[in-house]
């Protein structure tokens, strides 16, 4: 009824594998993002430690720079999630089309019986 390439179980496995890959990429993004956030935290504390406690303007500037860097890291994370999600959706839509094709074949075959 279906060829091996169109076997529903194989398509289902491919579908799930694509989601597995996406989730693995999210884990990597998360680890990199958290590591970068901690680096920025450490850099800020080092800069603050280097300033006299009375230098409030200097300290405020360190925080402003830190915020800019963190915003940039967050933007990069969101962009990476978006791109990766887009890639996954494109692939699974292609697999879904094949799955729908298999379902249509079943219906056609039923119609000819």
């Amino acid at each position: 009824m279906t060829t091996k390439a169109q076997d529903p179980k194989s398509l289902n496995r491919l579908y799930n594998e694509e989601i597995d890959k996406f989730e693995a990429r999210l884990d990597k993004f998360e680890a990199a993002f958290n590591r970068r956030c901690e680096e920025i935290r450490t850099e800020s504390h080092l800069k603050l430690d280097a300033l006299p406690k009375s230098d409030r303007i200097g300290r405020g500037r360190v925080l402003t720079e830190e915020k800019k860097e963190l915003d940039q890291v967050l933007r990069e994370l969101k962009m990476a999630i978006k791109n990766s999600g887009h890639e996954m959706r494109k692939t699974i839509e292609r697999i879904q089309t094949q799955i729908d094709g298999v379902a249509a074949d079943v219906e056609n075959e039923l119609g000819t019986l």
Partner: protein, 288 residues
């Protein structure tokens, strides 16, 4: 269930933001402020460096969680129709089931009816799957194909006979007793006056009854001058929507009714006229 922790998360994030914005303001205008000592200002800056990181990490974590939830939804959507032995059963029984039904001579329960019921069952399951994770779509759809197979043997008792045939066939093919039992339960109570005991059973019953909206089947009855049968199906049609069990089925009924009425309007047959008038009046259309 997910809403509350997320609300709580947003609340905490909001409070952290407020704390940060207020203390940033005091840091940047610190030279003119007499409220905080240099020591306090330094401690604030140290704390704010940490708060900034925590806020950013929280926002990153929220973005990641949203992406993971999307992945989980996609996995559930993809796995519902194509998983485990139920799908394999669908593949195997679908052709053989149609072979059984093909033997049936009754034109009202032809292959066309079987295909319509399958299509209806697929539409209902698609609508219901997201809110019913335990719904076994493959069982519902396979049962839709097999539901009338018992007619070949005994039309009057075809529900229980067909359920038994499907059950035994599933076992013979090596499927588990659990899957075979689900098949049995999905078919055995599909009679109009009966009450299914499982969700798959309700899907099959509603999918079967929705086929009363297939104009082609009405046309054949009119052409065959089967007025007694037309009287009977008209009676069912008039109360059909109320007697459908599932909201998803009622939605399909509402979607298809206008096209069905358009079709009925085109049917010209003297013997059918009283039923046509009754249908049109009941559903709020003036007969032409």
């Amino acid at each position: 269930m997910l809403k509350e922790p997320f609300l709580q998360f947003d609340f905490i994030l909001g409070v952290k933001r407020l704390v940060f914005v207020e203390s940033m303001g005091s840091s940047e205008s610190a030279s003119s402020s007499a409220a905080a000592s240099p020591q306090e200002g330094a401690e604030n800056a140290d704390a704010n460096a940490d708060i900034l990181v925590e806020i950013t990490k929280s926002e990153g974590s929220a973005a990641l969680n949203a992406a993971r939830q999307e992945a989980a939804k996609l996995r559930a959507a993809g796995g519902g129709k194509l998983q485990d032995e139920s799908q394999a059963m669908f593949d195997k029984l679908s052709t053989q089931g149609s072979g059984g039904v093909a033997q049936v001579v009754d034109p009202a329960h032809s292959n066309r009816h079987m295909q319509n019921v399958l299509q209806n069952a697929m539409e209902i399951t698609e609508e219901m799957e997201k809110d019913n994770p335990n719904l076994n779509a493959a069982v519902a759809e396979t049962a839709a194909i097999w539901h009338d197979v018992g007619r070949a043997e005994d039309p009057k008792e075809h529900e229980s006979l067909g359920a038994l045939l499907a059950h035994n066939e599933a076992l013979r093919m090596g499927f588990s007793l659990e899957t075979a039992t689900k098949m049995f339960n999905a078919i055995v109570h599909h009679k109009w006056s009966d009450e299914p005991k499982t969700l798959e059973g309700h899907i099959v019953r509603d999918a079967d009854k929705l086929d009363f909206l297939d104009g082609e089947r009405w046309r054949k009855r009119v052409e065959g001058k089967k007025y007694d049968e037309l009287k009977y199906v008209t009676g069912i049609l008039l109360n059909l929507r109320d007697r459908l069990k599932l909201e998803a089925s009622k939605k399909i009924f509402d979607k298809r009714l206008p096209a069905f009425l358009d079709f009925i309007e085109t049917v010209e047959d003297e013997g059918f006229e009283p039923y046509k008038k009754q249908i049109m009046t009941t559903f709020g259309r003036s007969p032409k």
